[in-house]
Symmetry: C2
Subunit: 131 residues, 2 copies
Amino acid sequence: MGKTRNMSPGFTIRDLRREFGLTARTIRHYEDCGLLRPERRGTARIYGESDRKRLRLIMRGKRLGFSLDEIRETLELYYARPGEIADPRHHLGRIGDYRAKLTALRDDVRIALDWLDTLEARCAAHWRKGA
Amino acid sequence: MGKTRNMSPGFTIRDLRREFGLTARTIRHYEDCGLLRPERRGTARIYGESDRKRLRLIMRGKRLGFSLDEIRETLELYYARPGEIADPRHHLGRIGDYRAKLTALRDDVRIALDWLDTLEARCAAHWRKGA
DNA sequence: TCTTACATTTACGTAAACGTAAACTTATAT
DNA sequence: ATATAAGTTTACGTTTACGTAAATGTAAGA
């Protein structure tokens, strides 16, 4: 179906920039890295719901410390149609690798939070004693 | 002057490199950034237990996605003697900031692990069906 | 003493993830 | 029709966290 005057116009790069707190440069950079593939209305980029969903995944990946290359791979794992997966064992293996990284990270987070608790308690105790 | 086996009272940069899987360059870089302050035997660096402890903290900080500047701050928060903290409220505030980042990260990890579970289940199901 | 092995400083190089500026095109408002 | 705003490509610049090489130093064994 072609574009008509009644079609939902989608989102401009400005919309995403404002919604996600990113710069246009960053969003285009993600496209350069193969993380996004917006349509074009003429020369301008038009983003849809799937792009917004991908952006949320991208930003979470970043917060989790993954590189854009790794994020691209996870997106490919996610959007691969199960019937077209060339090597399912390798596919599952990669998923396992990411899970291992995340479980290790989860443990690190736990330890760090405990560490902060100790740190805070120590400081607070001395503060009350001094004040 | 005989050098006995048990005489060396510390670790060389080579020891740390091997123990932590880092390069000497990296360890010196951490010192340049104020994360380590080894003693010197002549011109050579001698690391002690406290340095090894700091290195473990540094590496965890890295895995958690903190910059070396942030890690340096957390180390300063940690090694500050409670009696000498200039502004305990600011001190506690910074600790709270780090805790907020870590709790957010913990949530992200949870979501990402659930996501991987879904992803894996989908792939495995299709695999069994196809095989 | 000479060699060998590891250490140090100095300094330029690099990859990732954008920032920023320049020069243009396109769309909308007046 | 023209001004203004937003979008585009191109390309060099910047920051972080080291890599890598060169020149030099030093301590211990052959």
